[in-house]
């Protein structure tokens, strides 16, 4: 689909002499892989179980609602599609931030991270608007099994996006003040992995919850 480039590992340095760490303070396991990155992938693997549980609970209960307060009456597909597009594009800006960090380009790293946080905020704002609209139409958290499972699933996802935004803004601040002591590119990449995970969870939610009719 696209060209593959080989980036010189300028930010990584020359690598450690042993399996414990390098001059930048990044620690490596006996496999030669970064402990931080191993930990992040393990965390994301465990998050699959969390969201798998929430999605399957919603799938079970999506038909358990009153006649006039179900998905068919509430969903605003054009609006949710726009939110999905915004979150999808935030994944692009995030990967561009990682790419800039690997080149050692702090200015563009901060720029792309800030745009990613902005797009994430737009998505969360859209979710707050959607929740408010549903609530005004009479869909409270305890109205039905459908509403409880829907708010729990999308609410958990929204909290994950919000945590991601906080991490992105903190990272911009830390890069500005030169507060990152280890491998800066790896820190950006780790937060990028979390952000992309939040995006792939939404890819599932958008199709399974919004597009497939109950």
């Amino acid at each position: 689909m696209a060209d593959v480039a080989v980036h010189e590992p300028t930010v990584h340095g020359d690598g450690p002499d042993d399996a414990h760490g390098d001059a930048h303070g990044t620690h490596y396991s006996s496999t030669g892989l970064s402990n931080n990155k191993l930990g992040m992938w393990l965390f994301l693997g465990s998050e699959c179980l969390l969201f798998g549980g929430l999605i399957s609970t919603y799938m079970l209960y999506r038909g358990r609602h009153s006649q006039n307060l179900g998905p068919d009456q509430l969903w605003d597909i054009p609006f949710t599609s726009s939110s999905s597009f915004v979150l999808l594009m935030s994944s692009l800006t995030m990967v561009l931030a990682v790419s800039a960090a690997k080149r050692g380009d702090d200015r563009n790293t901060k720029l792309w991270l800030s745009i990613t946080a902005l797009l994430g905020s737009l998505f969360v704002a859209g979710q707050v608007y959607e929740f408010t609209t549903f609530y005004r139409e009479g869909l409270g958290y305890t109205t039905s099994l459908f509403s409880s499972s829907f708010y729990t699933l999308t609410g958990f996802h929204g909290v994950h996006v919000s945590v991601g935004i906080i991490m992105l803004m903190a990272l911009v601040g830390m890069i500005t003040k030169d507060r990152i002591h280890g491998d800066k590119a790896e820190v950006v990449e780790l937060i990028g992995l979390y952000w992309h995970f939040v995006d792939i969870v939404w890819i599932l939610i958008f199709t399974l919850v919004y597009l497939i009719p109950a």
Binding site: A5, W41, L49, F51, S56, L88
Partner: protein, 115 residues
């Protein structure tokens, strides 16, 4: 997955320098833009499919295939799993496939697929 022996996570490369493992490879920035454009087009197709009737019984499988394509495009290209060590892939896919397996069994238990 990459077919590149330097990234297959076998014992032969476990003592290589971390720089040879840790995402030193990836797409160019233009490559990432192309992936994002493809994702946007697929999202548009999904929305279009949800509004049209002529797909008939093929609607659900097509929608699920498009969802899976989007999912793995982000995982493989944006999350660099295509270019990184297979150990990272194993950690993530272990959680993913365990979750899919466990919850499909759970849904069967509750007769979700009985129609």
């Amino acid at each position: 997955m990459t077919g590149d022996p330097a990234h297959d996570g076998t014992a032969a490369d476990t003592h290589a320098s971390p720089a040879s493992h840790d995402s030193s490879h990836g797409l160019t920035d233009m490559g990432y833009v192309q992936v994002a454009v493809a994702l946007a087009i697929i999202t548009g197709l999904e929305v279009w499919a949800s509004y049209t009737d002529w797909l008939g019984p093929a609607f659900l499988p097509i929608l699920l295939v498009l969802m899976i394509v989007k999912f793995f495009s982000v995982v493989l290209f944006f999350m660099h799993l295509r270019f990184d060590s297979k150990i990272f892939s194993a950690l993530f896919y272990a959680g993913l496939f365990l979750a899919v397996g466990v919850y499909i069994v759970a849904l069967f238990t509750f007769h979700f697929f009985d129609g």
